[in-house]
């Protein structure tokens, strides 16, 4: 029994099951005004950080870093015509990480004073020294120059926390109304907003002040047919983004239509929640009477909202170096893409597969100026012309693959968690040749167009996966011929990426994001985006998921 079991199953929690994913809010609930209190001041933070770094060095640390963090969250939940909950949370404190006797130690405190931070630093050194007894190899850090006093701010246009709650609630309720007008039986909608105010300092001589924003509007629609007892659902085709409230002001140039014959609309850097809610309700009604898929081999045309999750699971995770080395063996698992496998030089995908890791792309969830161990961020290739060329790594891992530079992808979900290697944005580069989504469909004899990400599952070494989606359309002889249901595809990662036959150009490229990628024990959540253009994969195994109970 744990404290989490205490939480009762309220109508909110039950309704939230119909949202794509229900993020847990870190931090303590606070009243709204608290979110605007100025707490983080760089000059004060520098003094506090120095207290921690000096205390760590005095206690015997050979390296130390400190992260002073203020994490603000606001979440609004509605269903049909009513507001269910408005939660404002704040978490403020500092974490100190040290190396002593060649071993990591970490301690965190919510007592953000010089004395409090010095005490945490001393405790971190004590823990490092205690754990050194079980250490087999001393920690070896890639060299890192100090940047002095620097800062980075997410390039947002409108801070979502400054938008009146009434305005945000009205938008969600208007989306619910659109859904109900168009035939939804039920609709749950939510808006999540995150602001990370982070100050990092290390004994390398960096003092880094950063301000990061994320936003995620979403909904889940259910249509029930009482006469047959059937129900179907469809979730929003929004992306969670590293943007401000401007994401919710729709712009015509950000709307990308699916192939002719489908009524799918995808969204780039802004989102039309009213339009999507209306479309979703219509599509959910169609799903109730759509043809059940015949299992077999199909050419799949996958939209970026869908493909992002496939990239996340089958490329992003297997190329995390800590997984590859066995550090996640007891939880998330290991990876087929071992150092030996990479040496063999076998193709990961077809020559069209160029996958890039990145921590800088504007509007993405992963974008920061510097990571949580003070490394300036960058972009680098993971898969080039179908060949695996690199992994994702941080300072204490670079030497293992013969490199002397971190990739800048170290992250902790809050001040009280220790930072470790997390997935950067991992994206499929769009094709160089000019190809539209209709071009993807026109050469397909027997295929399925899938939009939106749905059910997902992959094994602990990332070979075998199964994905669903939100809406499915049959393609016959180069044309969309109608909606399908009960579709999921199963593939092996390498076979799948080697079946990549064509990808649209830059004009179709867009991001999809995930707010709550889990990893580590105790588990930590991280937000990450994946970009791609609509892409075709030939001859993929599709199963029928309908069952009689």
């Amino acid at each position: 029994m744990k404290r989490r079991d205490f939480v009762g199953l309220t109508s909110l929690a039950a309704g939230a099951l119909f949202l794509p994913s229900f993020p847990s809010l870190a931090g303590e609930p606070v009243e709204l005004a608290r979110l605007f209190d100025p707490v983080m001041d760089a000059a004060i933070n520098k003094r506090l950080a120095d207290a921690a770094l000096n205390a760590a060095k005095s206690a015997g640390a050979s390296y130390a870093d400190v992260r002073i963090g203020r994490y603000l969250n606001q979440a609004l939940f509605t269903r049909e015509k009513q507001v269910q909950n408005i939660a404002n949370t704040e978490s403020y404190g500092a974490g100190v990480r040290v190396i002593a006797n060649g071993t990591w130690g970490f301690a965190a405190t919510n007592n953000v004073s010089e004395a409090g931070l010095a005490k945490a630093a001393q405790l971190a050194v004590q823990i490092a020294k205690a754990n050194a007894k079980a250490q087999k190899e001393p920690v070896k850090l890639a060299p890192q120059k100090g940047y002095g006093e620097v800062s980075w701010k997410a390039p947002i246009q409108q801070n979502a926390f400054e938008v009146p709650i009434a305005q945000k609630v009205d938008l969600l309720l208007a989306a619910n109304a659109k859904a109900m007008e168009n035939g939804a039986s039920f609709v749950n909608s939510a808006l999540f907003q995150v602001n990370e105010q982070k100050y990092f300092a290390s004994t390398d001589g960096s003092y880094i002040d950063q301000d990061i924003h994320r936003i995620w509007p979403t909904f889940g629609i259910t249509v029930v047919d009482r006469s047959t007892g059937k129900f179907r659902t469809r979730q929003a085709l929004s992306a969670s983004m590293g943007l401000g409230y401007e994401y919710l002001t729709p712009k015509a140039q950000d709307k990308i239509a699916g192939p002719a014959g489908s009524d799918v609309i995808g969204y780039k850097n802004s989102y039309d929640i009213l339009e999507d809610a209306a479309l979703a309700a219509k599509q959910t009604k169609q799903k109730l009477t759509a043809k059940s898929v015949t299992p077999g081999k199909y050419d799949l045309v996958l939209d970026p909202h869908h493909l992002g999750l496939t990239i996340h699971e089958s490329v992003g995770h297997p190329l995390e170096l800590d997984r590859v080395l066995g550090y996640e063996a007891n939880f998330a698992g290991t990876s087929f893409a071992t150092l030996d496998w990479k040496k063999q030089g076998k193709p990961y995908g077809s020559k069209l597969v160029n996958i890039v890791a990145d921590k800088r792309q504007p509007g993405s969830l992963g974008a920061v100026g510097y990571d949580d161990e003070g490394v300036q961020t960058k972009e680098w290739d993971l898969i080039k012309d179908g060949k695996l060329v690199d992994y994702q790594k941080i300072r204490d891992q670079a030497h293992i693959v013969g490199q002397n530079e971190s990739d800048g992808c170290c992250y902790a979900q809050s001040w009280q968690d220790v930072q470790f290697q997390r997935m950067p944005n991992v994206s499929l580069r769009p094709g160089a040749q000019k190809l539209s989504v209709d071009d993807m469909v026109k050469n397909v004899e027997k295929g399925i167009y899938i939009a939106g990400n749905g059910s997902f599952s992959i094994d602990q070494q990332r070979y075998n996966f199964q994905f669903g989606g939100q809406v499915f359309y049959a393609i016959e002889n180069g044309k969309i011929t109608g909606m399908l249901e009960d579709v999921a595809y199963q593939a092996n990662t390498l076979e799948f990426w080697n079946s990549c036959a064509a990808t649209c150009d830059q004009s179709d490229y867009r991001l999809v994001g995930f707010f709550n990628d889990g990893k580590g024990q105790p588990s930590q959540s991280s937000a990450v985006s994946h970009g791609s253009a609509t892409t075709r994969f030939n001859g993929v195994n599709v199963i029928n998921t309908a069952r009689k109970i």
Binding site: M1, T10, Q82, N131, F186, F331, S455, D459, P522, S523
Partner: protein
Amino acid sequence: MAILSRDEAQSILKKVLSFTTADECEATLNGTNGGNIRTARNTVSTAGAVDNISLAVEARFGKRSGVATCNQFDDATLRRCVQRAEEVARLAPESPEYVPLLGAQQYLTAPSFAQSTAGITPDYRASQALAGIKLCDQKKLSSASFLEDESGFIAKRNNKGLEAYQQFTNLDFSVTVRTPDGLGSGYAAGDFTDISKFDAGRMTQIAADKAAASVGAKAIEPGKYTVILEPAALVSNTDASLLGALMNAFDARNADEGRSFLSKKGGGNKKGEKLFDERVTIYSDPTSADIPGLVFAGDGRPRQKTTWIEKGVVKNLYSSRFWAQKAGIPDIPGPSGFIMAGGTASTADLIKSTQKGILVTRLWYIRPVDPQTLLYTGLTRDGTFYIENGKIKHPVKNFRFNESPIIMLNNLEAIGRPVRLGGNFVPPLKIRDFTFTSLSDAV
């Protein structure tokens, strides 16, 4: 500070309530003290400690409600916390699902606290971690493990007369052992209220034996097989699970609204219908010595022994207080863990009685495919073996499954002896016609 006695906690709560001018006010104190240690590649990777206490105050004016929290307990802070909750309540919209706070309640007593677990030290955690590391070093195997413990309390009080308090302790442990060539992998996991029943070395030995035995797996065709699902293939403390998914679907409102496998064609729900094999009985009991639970829910409702499925028949659904009143149904809170009634047969006995089948140690990455039928997909992991004529013949490659717990509990062949895992108490099950849809190369 983190663990307060009943008197200490209630005295803070009484003071909090004395500061309110709201129509209704409820205060909840939560405190935990605990730590963790993680290992990988036969060495300690991280270790940490957590000590936290917080107060939440809910104030209500009519149908408007506001919440505020604090983690300091001087009079000025407590007074400010109450005032903030009241300010938020005055600004909040009226809730159409308002129900008044509960008055005084009678609660059961659960054996949920063990002093042995509350007294865990960093040295204890390190010694348990090192026991597993040492064993795997000797056997030239590679282990990765995680131990997490907590002791804590929850106290509630409101101005309608409700008063509640409970202490609890818990330790979760899991270990994965792999062979150095990466061809074998084994797993063991468990959770405990009292650590006198816990031995990391013994659990690591089970995982090590499974790792060694799973080397040299042969591929067999996917399809429908008789399977013996060990408890880690039925429930989990880290992932979704087939039985967990089934119990999560017992919400009355979703069933009544037509969006659950328990919804009835034409309206209403399937309470009272026989949906599973008659040997299936699932209940919850917070006073169970095997898996003690919290005796009150988040809204203060008492948790009693409740039967969810009896001899295959759906007996009860849980609901919010609002929905219970609106629908005129019994007002039953969800469980804090469940018990599936079992027999006395061990997993070894189930293997002996199996002519052809597959032993599954663990299922993993379990995700919903179709909420209408509760179809789930996922994969076998960390020890999958072919059984012939009552004996394990050889390890087999892992499979992906697509299966519904509803179908699974209709295809029941045999039930074993329950064990505690993931906050539940469940037996190994022998199931016929379990659907494997593809092979996985993962070890």
